[in-house]
Symmetry: C2
């Protein structure tokens, strides 16, 4: 399969590494000069659950790429999605599938502005990746990657991509309800990521506080109200249990939003709590926790002078 990775940071590069190792023709796309330079000169080094290997793999800015692809895996930050969709337009054919594995809410709608719904495949993954240096990434865990087509006509191609992900060791799973999975993952990110960033605490510290559990419940209630508007039924108690269980394995981990604040980068808050606050507001449903959390994170970005 001819595959592009749009957004080749930690998780994107790691997926590119696994897919090329699995025998596919993979091209990485990114805008980060140091990453491009290092991978061109020294290759891409990936540590996959402790096994380290370096491979040669093409990488360039999307504008410089002349090929077209069967599948593009989207791994940008939420706020980079729209720009990337415009930048890769010339690499898409009428049949190119875009597999969206971004965190956050509302991305299917954004992608549908640029390509037909029949070519959109939405997904979530619990693979954890990190960037150790330009050209050096690590991939941890065992996945899975769950994906599902946005339009029923895309099912057979989605199953083919699931097979590719399985064959390449990425634990592909066909999701019967990716819409639900996306909301559930957004609940995880909208609680532990944002609270970790505000309280400057790792997951273990965060969940050691009884206050966290009360706040998580209120936040999830608001996500459930927004999910309902979106036609997704979230059981608050089940989601809270899921979040608590997820927290157990994360221990001293600082989630991405905490890393963003520490590194003075924009966060994805508008695509998590911010989206919920907006959806609820538009429907006259109160969502004050998501609203205040969004304001606090944006205040933090402003105070730190993030640009």
């Amino acid at each position: 399969m001819k595959i592009a990775i749009a957004g080749s940071g930690a998780l994107g590069s790691s997926f590119g590494f696994m897919l090329q190792k699995g025998g596919h023709d993979v091209t990485l796309m990114d805008y980060w000069d140091e990453q491009i330079q290092t991978i061109r000169e020294h290759g891409l080094t990936a540590n996959v659950n402790g096994v380290i290997e370096t491979i040669r793999i093409p990488i360039d800015k999307p504008e410089n790429i002349q090929d077209s692809f069967d599948v593009v895996f989207m791994f940008t930050k939420s706020m980079g999605l729209r720009h990337m969709l415009k930048a890769i337009a010339h690499t898409l054919t009428v049949d190119t599938k875009i597999v969206c594995l971004l965190n956050g809410l509302g991305h299917a709608k954004t992608i549908a502005e640029y390509i037909p719904t029949k070519n959109i495949i939405m997904g979530t993954t619990v693979w954890t990746a990190g960037l150790d240096a330009p050209g050096k990434v690590h991939l941890m865990g065992h996945g899975p990657v769950e994906i599902q087509e946005s339009d029923p006509s895309g099912k057979s191609e989605t199953l083919a991509i699931v097979k590719v992900l399985q064959d390449c060791g990425l634990n592909g799973v066909y999701s019967e309800d990716v819409h639900f999975t996306t909301w559930r993952k957004a609940c995880v990110n909208g609680t532990m990521n944002s609270l970790s960033a505000i309280l400057d605490a790792n997951i273990e510290e965060l969940f050691s506080s009884t206050q966290t559990h009360a706040m998580v419940k209120e936040i999830v209630k608001e996500f459930a109200a927004a999910a309902e508007i979106d036609g997704v039924d979230l059981n608050v108690d089940e989601i809270v249990d899921y979040i608590n269980q997820a927290s157990v394995n994360l221990g001293s981990h600082y989630p991405s939003m905490h890393q963003d604040i520490s590194n003075r980068r924009f966060t994805e808050i508008d695509f998590l709590n911010g989206t919920v606050a907006k959806m609820c507001e538009d429907n006259n449903i109160p969502a004050p926790y998501c609203r205040l959390i969004t304001q606090l994170i944006h205040a933090k970005e402003e105070i730190l002078g993030v640009k």
Copy 2:
């Protein structure tokens, strides 16, 4: 006048210094051993708007004091009020006035559990004080100290204390509505103190963010709802203006709650946003901003292991 200062930290010691310099018989009370030891051995050194002087002044733990007093100025932290009231009981006569200058809400009710209402004088001050080291304080600004009796029968004694404060350079002012002043000051502390502590920002940084202004307004709305339950009319726009004006003079100042968090001490959040959240909850009025802010500050205390 025979005066005791109950709680001789930065502001308490400074007031004691000014009152003794003005010719009154002042005794400091505190539980901090280093402060007691240093003031006994080396005296109390105060820097009052740039003028530095050292005086001898008696200081002890309340339990060790045998005298009784005409007036006790209360300068404990909110959470230390009840303990101090019990500890000083033997130093009070049937006529001893307690002048309460604590930040926060609900203190008049607490004091009324221990002494008759006729002896309670409530107040607020905008004097700013700091502790440079044990036995070394600075006092900045020009006040005022506004006070008013809780029961009309106490008016003449209150006016006498106002006169004492004026004569001692502490800018005493008789307040016609200390209940309002207390709520207004609580609005200042419940916005800039708590947000500064959560966002780890000084006042200038905090108010440079457009988000802060939106959050301040929401918080003040909730304070106004609680004040109304308490029979106090707060005009939200006026209070917001007052807070913005107050912020202009504070610049690089980190408010007390930020200092408490930095020094891993308990904060006064329960006597500010926490009280508003509780009052509103008891009256079925939503106050989610105050509630979440209280939870975040308590989470921070728990995560830092404050004991």
